[in-house]
Point group: C2
Chain length 419, copies 2
């Protein structure tokens, strides 16, 4: 859409061109023509079983259905149902006991958490930092409130975390603005499947601590978007980074976490999540809660009570909690098998992928991704063409397709780009 007739642009790029939506539509049309067995719709950001059916944790639905009428009907407090907020801490931190002061505020999914953190810790015009491979809506969220996204190259030439580029970009941006929000989507980064290792986290935290210490006027907020944490692998192992963001923090460095029920509890449509903070200063944590609550009141008011109460019930009942974890583990194994199948087949086919560790997505770096995707579409394969390559949702295709796709991709890339 080139020109607005009536509405205000307000610094945003107005577009109706949604690549995921349009590719999904193409896939659906082909399914209607040739049948679903002949199509791999690798666009969908939700976990489907090998028959293409949405995975729903029945243990969670059971709890939702057993709620009392008031649990559906009544407004939740603006900051969230207190028992839910306690449950969020339990789910996020697992067996780890944070030493910093922690506060949590309910948000509509991870999107609302990221919105709240950007809204309250940056100013209009500020850059928000994330990696060059990133989940597109970060940009939509930033632009919606007149901020912008700045990026650093996520990987170096050896496909390792480019910590030097990260540190340089942090320093560069803090030369231009006193405040900086940095989004790190890990474990199981969307769209690459990368998980920041303990060493990577060390680099990140050391950089931020040094940068914060170098100038007390700087205010640095790290936002860890952990949307995929419970589909990454062992729950404890994938929480091992937590002590690293709970170290002796300088007062002008705050750690925050965007939590979502969408994936871990398969409650995408119930819109529950939370923004959490860790600070050595209890007043900073309190301020986080106040500001995020104010933003909630002035934007969406309160969040869905039923999903909050359901999660609180689950976390307060050891049997229910065990049921949810077991059911989830089963589907997590399914996803891990797909990832293994895809990366093995990629190796065999000589297909370069991002350094996938876990999660819903893997990406294939390539030039002319739109043209490559068009070739793949002819074979019933529908990845999402990004600027830097192709994103494949392992969450939405069968293990069988995971074995087939890499060779097809290698061939399509060769056909289009000649290498």
């Amino acid at each position: 859409m080139a020109n607005l007739i009536f509405a205000e642009e307000n610094g945003r790029t107005i577009t109706t061109d949604d690549k995921i939506f349009s590719t999904n539509k193409l896939a659906q049309e082909m399914i209607a023509r040739v049948g679903k067995d002949k199509v791999a719709n690798a666009t969908i950001g939700a976990l489907l079983d090998d028959n293409g059916k949405l995975v729903v944790l029945s243990s969670v639905v059971k709890v939702l259905k057993e709620l009392g009428p008031e649990d559906y009907a009544e407004y939740a407090p603006i900051a969230g149902v207190p028992s839910f907020l306690e449950s969020v801490k339990k789910v996020v931190f697992g067996s780890y006991q944070p030493k910093a002061h922690v506060e949590a505020v309910s948000t509509p999914g991870g999107t609302g958490a990221i919105h709240n953190i950007i809204q309250n810790y940056t100013r209009r015009g500020d850059a928000v930092l994330t990696s060059d491979w990133y989940w597109g809506p970060y940009s939509t969220i930033a632009h919606e409130i007149e901020r912008k996204i700045a990026t650093y190259p996520l990987f170096d030439n050896d496909f390792r975390f480019n910590h030097r580029a990260f540190a340089e970009k942090v320093e560069e941006l803090l030369g231009q603005q006193d405040r900086l929000v940095i989004i790190l989507n890990t474990p199981a980064h969307n769209p690459t499947g990368y998980t920041w290792s303990a060493e990577d986290w060390d680099h990140v935290v050391t950089t931020l601590k040094n940068t914060a210490a170098a100038d007390k006027k700087r205010k640095i907020v790290l936002a860890a978007d952990i949307a995929y944490i419970d589909f990454a692998g062992d729950e404890e192992e994938y929480r091992s980074f937590l002590p690293q963001i709970d170290v002796e923090l300088p007062e002008n460095l705050m750690m925050t976490i965007a939590f979502s029920m969408s994936k871990g509890f398969t409650m995408y449509g119930m819109r529950a999540g939370a923004a959490l903070c860790l600070s050595r200063n209890p007043e900073v944590a309190k301020e986080f809660k106040t500001l995020c609550s104010l933003s909630a009141r002035g934007t969406w008011s309160n969040c869905t009570r039923a999903s909050m109460v359901a999660m609180a019930h689950i976390c307060q009942d050891p049997d229910l909690w065990q049921q949810v974890r077991e059911e989830r583990a089963k589907y997590r194994e399914m996803l891990i098998r797909r990832g293994r199948a895809f990366t093995e087949a990629a190796r065999e086919a000589g297909l370069l992928t991002t350094p996938y560790d876990a999660g819903f997505f893997i990406s294939i770096p390539c030039l002319n991704s739109d043209d490559v995707a068009a070739v793949l579409n002819e074979d019933g394969i529908f990845p999402v063409a990004l600027g830097k390559g192709l994103r494949v949702s392992l969450a939405s295709i069968s293990e069988e397709w995971c074995r087939i796709i890499p060779a097809k991709m290698a061939a399509a890339i060769k056909k289009v780009n000649g290498n």
Copy 2:
């Protein structure tokens, strides 16, 4: 909170001082001391029965509980579930068939709809117009995105709609800015209970049409917040203003509606609502949908699917629809009886009230409202002290209390203000 330590003020007034919350807390504390029969907690913005229990339409809960697992789990489209959007039009317009082009986009309650309209039809720094008696969160919503609220005196000296003041303020603001969003909360205005009459609507629409025609550069958006429409009275009668906002509109005047499931379907906690627009230009309506969807994607992403599907089921099934309407009518009658009891008792006590027609709230204009409230608190009566007087939630107190409170209020005002 005077100074922020870490977070950014971004043009907002940062306060943790919530009058409704603190008054509610006082009421709860007194209930714990003396029992609930001796306390009228007139702070709550939800409909309670005469025993103080939240009214929940059992027909709605039944539909919610019967949904399939996917209806809870799956993401809704950003713009909303299509069958829900059709249902919203049916519920909002009733038997009326709008002639203008209509679009609807789902939002988390009425708050999200108001947010979307202000966000997309004003610029930073702009004033948004509403009446001097107004629902406080309008200001929170505006300030959150660096806009501000301007007001005109709602009533003239005879307690009629002050259409001259309205017209003057519209003209004044359009001398300062080319865009203007105007919020009209009717029927059953919160906090006064006033309903704009057909004559009032004529004044409003004529003013806006003339103002729009006078300068084509102006872009005027009227937002009708109809949160209380289905608890006002006869459903058709209270929709009789609809043809007035569907008249031959100038191209630079758009009508919008903020719809909420919170009250009408007693689904406060399920966070479903919608922003609707009416325009003679289909491109303007389409742009509305695009922009509101973009704002959703960049703020809360999508809305609660389960509540949308439930409302669609209800509206598609004539029996269910009839059940909901009958159940609601019963509770509406209860509320209407309370309003009648209160206004009659006020007349007998010589207590001046706002010109209450219907709805959850009535207000009593007075000076020193905090002091008057404090006197009433001693008698177990807990209204909310506003700048211009006291707000009483008829929705949350029994009919018996409605007969008792006015004389107590008259006495308390006399005690504090001496008249």
